[in-house]
């Protein structure tokens, strides 16, 4: 105890830790009893799990066409607890996207994006996009049949874009086709580029939240406040433990499958699909006619998604009423429609399209 005290004093003398502790003692957050407030923290927690398990997997994973599948097989069949680490990494990745999506929609419906938090909204959207990038690049890494063909399709879609499409596709594939070069490239994105970008954006996102405090819903004001430490931190921790229990249960009872090794000259197996969070786009592409009034159907889908994406990003500026503290029924309904549409497309693609 004495040594801890001495160490603290040594640091305090240099970095004035006392100020930080004083600050933490007085920091408060809005009082609430709604579960939606926890999903940002849950996303952060799952990201930390991804970091830890990802670093562990890096100890055995080999990012080459010849060795990738075998190395994952080695991890899940021979390395002590390898099956667990890999299963947690896969499950946590999927839960993370889900938590981030729930976080996004709850921010939308509770109008937490309104002035002055516009940029928190924008950085959050970029983070979600980066996490989807993690999902897309990570999907290929085990080099199994399903992910190989899903990556072919996913990257081929870029080719539909006029002018820049082909160049972009080749940039991501590392050549004309999906090969070992693509695998190595995806690996680089997955373990170096994306983590660096996410680290910066999470810092900025959290810095914004810290500077401006948490938003409270329009109908609650002035909101009651509760101390951040220990009251809110302990609540957060309890939720995290709950998430850990769910994550462990899923990983233990439904270990993530590896599938068959990718074979570039084998015909694509049936049931090829991307990860669930891309399914709504996948389903749109499936049901769209190949041409509408002479225009490539896929291009129309891209255009619609592009416009929606830009609109979604600009929501804090579109919704003038929220900034003034008034409800905006039209936007609320548009958001609800989008949520329902994406959900229906996803469920349709996942469960009802095989016939």
């Amino acid at each position: 105890m004495q040594i801890i005290k001495l160490g603290f004093e040594w640091l305090d003398e240099r970095f004035h830790l006392g100020d930080l502790i004083e600050f933490a003692k007085h920091k408060t957050v809005p009082m609430h009893h709604s579960i939606w407030y926890y999903f940002g923290g849950i996303t952060l927690f799952l990201f930390l799990i991804q970091l830890a398990t990802g670093i562990l997997l890096l100890m055995y994973y080999r990012p080459t066409e010849a060795a990738a599948y075998e190395s994952v097989q080695y991890i899940i069949s021979e390395v002590p607890f390898g099956w667990l680490v890999r299963s947690i990494h896969s499950w946590s990745a999927n839960l993370l996207i889900a938590a981030a999506a729930i976080h996004m929609f709850s921010v939308f419906f509770l109008k937490a994006y309104r002035k002055p938090r516009e940029l928190t909204w924008v950085t959050g959207l970029i983070l979600l996009a980066l996490f989807m990038g993690f999902g897309f690049t990570g999907y290929l890494l085990p080099w199994n049949r399903l992910s190989f063909f899903a990556t072919k399709v996913g990257t081929e879609m870029l080719n539909i874009l006029p002018i820049v499409g082909d160049t972009m596709m080749q940039m991501i594939r590392g050549g004309e086709h999906v090969t070992g070069a693509t695998l190595t490239r995806m690996f680089g994105f997955h373990v170096a580029l994306l983590p660096a970008m996410v680290a910066i954006l999470i810092s900025v996102h959290l810095l914004f939240v810290q500077r401006q405090g948490m938003s409270a819903p329009l109908n609650i004001r002035p909101p009651k406040e509760m101390p951040f430490f220990p009251n809110f931190v302990l609540r957060d921790l309890m939720v995290w433990i709950g998430v850990l229990v769910i994550l462990s249960t899923l990983s233990l009872y439904f270990p993530w499958e590896l599938g068959l090794e990718a074979d570039p000259i084998a015909p694509a197996p049936s049931g090829i699909e991307p990860e669930w969070f891309f399914l709504w786009v996948f389903q749109l592409l499936r049901i769209m006619p190949s041409e509408v009034l002479g225009v490539d159907g896929r291009l129309i889908i891209f255009a619609v998604i592009g416009v929606l994406g830009i609109g979604w990003t600009l929501v804090p500026w579109i919704d003038r009423k929220a900034a003034e503290g008034r409800p905006n029924k039209l936007l609320q309904r548009a958001g609800l429609f989008l949520l329902v549409a994406v959900s229906i497309l996803t469920i349709w693609a996942k469960f009802f399209h095989h016939a």
């Binding site: 562990l56 021979e78 390395v79 002590p80 390898g82 433990i241």
Partner: protein
């Protein structure tokens, strides 16, 4: 009388608080262990158990002239097969016992030699000169119908 006594009250509260701290502390320690133990175990790769490496076929008797040697792959390591000037075959792990460089056979010295620090071993693998502290690890050589098979000593 007891209810009005502040010290008793305080003691009761401290008892409950202490109990809760033990419960929480034990729970947290258990949680930490259940995370740390798998992590610790994961870091160390399993021992190589592939059977194929038990016996390695190095070549045929005719491939080796007397007073020659050859390094070959033996599991994860290098091993050295030598044919002595008398025509006998012997095999050793190729790892020098000094600082783990790969040794080689020197026909001019009729010795096994390590280039890193000029360590020398005789034809039985005994360390005879230079820094190596121990003899080389001997392997078993069997000759079956002209094929040279090398395996670990059991």
């Amino acid at each position: 009388m007891t209810t009005g006594d502040p010290t008793v009250n305080k003691r009761g509260e401290e008892g409950r608080r202490g109990f809760l701290q033990v419960v929480l502390g034990t729970g947290f320690a258990g949680l930490s262990l259940s995370v740390l133990y798998p992590t610790w175990r994961f870091i160390f790769p399993p021992k190589n158990t592939r059977v194929a490496e038990a016996v390695v076929r190095v070549g045929t008797v005719d491939d080796f002239a007397p007073n020659s040697g050859k390094l070959f792959r033996f599991g994860d390591e290098a091993a050295l097969l030598i044919r002595t000037p008398d025509g006998d075959f012997r095999a050793f792990l190729g790892t020098c016992t000094h600082l783990a460089c790969n040794v080689e056979y020197r026909p001019d010295l009729t010795q096994i030699w390590c280039a890193c620090h000029d360590g020398r071993f005789d034809l039985t693998g005994r360390n005879v000169q230079g820094p190596p502290p121990r003899p080389l690890t001997s392997l078993v050589v069997q000759i079956q119908e002209g094929e040279i098979l090398v395996s670990r000593q059991t």
